[in-house]
Symmetry: C2
Subunit: 238 residues, 2 copies
C-alpha cells in the first residue's frame, strides 16, 4: 500500500519539540540525588491527571488547564517522594517548566519543511499561554503556521476530538486535506498511537529507544531524531 503524499505536519509539543526532562537539572539542584526521580514522577503524574479529568467527565466539567494540572502533579510528586516544596522552590520549578529547553534541531527541520511549503503546527495538551511562551522562548514563532491548544475542547489527548481539532484547523487553509495526508509527530508512544487510531499518518519520535506500546496498532513511521521527519518529507516529495 502506497502512503498518501503528506501535505502537512503537526507536532506534539512537550517531549517532542520541548525537552520536558530539562527540568530535571533544576530539580537536581534543589533536591540533590532526587532530581531525576522527581522529574519522572512529575511528568507521569501530569499526564495521568490529564487523562483522569478527561475520562471523569466527557463534557469537560473537570477540565483544568495544563498549567494547573502541572502544578498539582508537582505537588503530588514532591509529597510522594517526601520532598518539602516551599513556595519559592515551587515557583522556580514551574518557571523552569514554562521555559523548557527546545531541542536544537527544531529550527533546521522546521526551516526545511517551510522550504518544502509544508504547513506545520503544534497540537498540544498545553494551554495557549504556556505554548505561546515556549514557542517564543525557542524563537519558533515564525516557523510554525499553527499553535493549537486543547483548551477550547476542555479535554486532553488521546481524546479523538483533539486530533480532529488539528485536522479542522489545517483544513481552514486546505479544505480537501484528509487525516491520512497529515503527518502527526510525537515522542510519546501513546500519543502516536492515539493519532493513529484517529487516522493521521504518524511518526513516533522514539527519542528514548523505548519498546512500542502493545495497543494493537503501530505508528506508521518511527525514528530517533527530528531530522528523520525531514528525511521522510523530503523523500515523499522527491
Amino acid at each position: 500500500m502506497k502512503a498518501p503524499p503528506l501535505q502537512a505536519v503537526l507536532f506534539d509539543a512537550y517531549g517532542t519539540l520541548f525537552d520536558v526532562y530539562s527540568v530535571g537539572l533544576l530539580a537536581e539542584q534543589l533536591f540533590s540525588g532526587r532530581g531525576e526521580a522527581l522529574a519522572t514522577l512529575w511528568r507521569d503524574k501530569q499526564i495521568e491527571y490529564t487523562r483522569l479529568v478527561s475520562l471523569g467527565d466527557r463534557d469537560g466539567r473537570l477540565y483544568r488547564p495544563f498549567w494547573d494540572l502541572t502544578r498539582d502533579a508537582l505537588r503530588y510528586a514532591c509529597k510522594r517522594l517526601a520532598l518539602a516544596l516551599p513556595p519559592e522552590q515551587e515557583e522556580r520549578l514551574m518557571n523552569q517548566y514554562r521555559h523548557l529547553s527546545a531541542y536544537p534541531e527544531n529550527r533546521e527541520v522546521l526551516q526545511a519543511l517551510r522550504a518544502l511549503r509544508v504547513p506545520t503546527g503544534i497540537l498540544s495538551n498545553g494551554d495557549p499561554s504556556m505554548l505561546e511562551v515556549a514557542v517564543r522562548s525557542a524563537g519558533l514563532q515564525e516557523l510554525l503556521d499553527h499553535v493549537i491548544s486543547v483548551e477550547p475542547l476542555r479535554c486532553f489527548k488521546p481524546d479523538p476530538r483533539v486530533y480532529m481539532l488539528g485536522l479542522r484547523t489545517l483544513q481552514q487553509q486546505r479544505p480537501d486535506l484528509t487525516a491520512r495526508q497529515v503527518l502527526f509527530v510525537s515522542s510519546n508512544g501513546w500519543d502516536a498511537v492515539g493519532a493513529t487510531w484517529f487516522g493521521f499518518t504518524t511518526f513516533w519520535l522514539n527519542r528514548a529507544g523505548h519498546p512500542a506500546e502493545e495497543l494493537g496498532v503501530r505508528p506508521h513511521h518511527e525514528g530517533r531524531k527530528l531530522q528523520d521527519v525531514r528525511a521522510l518529507l523530503e523523500g515523499a516529495r522527491a
Copy 2:
C-alpha cells in the same frame, strides 16, 4: 454536614480485595532482582492501557477485555525492562494474575456487612471471567451480592458510566437508593476520586500510605485497612 446513612457498599477488586502485587513473588522467582520492578510497571501499564482505550474512542470500539490488556501490559513491561518472556513464563505470570491472593481480612469484613444487612458488590475493570475466578478462588461468592464488570459498557474507570452501572445494579433491589448512600471502597486513589466525582460516598483504602491525589477533591473517608470500612458502617448504624 451529616453524612447520609450508608445503605450499600461497592468494592473495587484489584488492589482493594485482591493483592495485585502478589504477582511480584512469582516475578521475582522468574526474574531474580527484577520482580518488583516488573510487577510495578506491569500494573502501571495495565491501568494506563485501560485509560488509553477508553479515551481513544468513547463508543468502545477500542475496548478490549481487561485480561487482554493485562497480557499486553505484561509484554510491554518485559520488553521495557529487557526481560525475555518465553510463552510458558507468560502463562505462569498470567495464571498468577488470575489467581491473585485475596486480602485475609476480606472475609471477616464482608461477613460483618452481611450481619448488618448491607448489600455488597464488586465494581471492577476486570472482565466477568477474571472476576468469577478471583471471587471463587477466594471463597467470597457467598458474601457478595453483586459482581459487576465494566464489560457491557466497553469502557473503564473512571468513566462515570462505570460508577452509574454500579448504582443502577444496586437500584434493582432498592430503587430509591441514591449515589450518596453507596459507599465505594477502593485502594486506588484515582478510583476513589473518580467515584467521588460521580457522587458516591467514598472510602480510600490507602494501604500504601500514599499522599492523596491533587485533583481538587478528596475521598470522604480514608483508612489503612479494610476493617476501617467495617467500623465506619457499624458506627453509622449504631
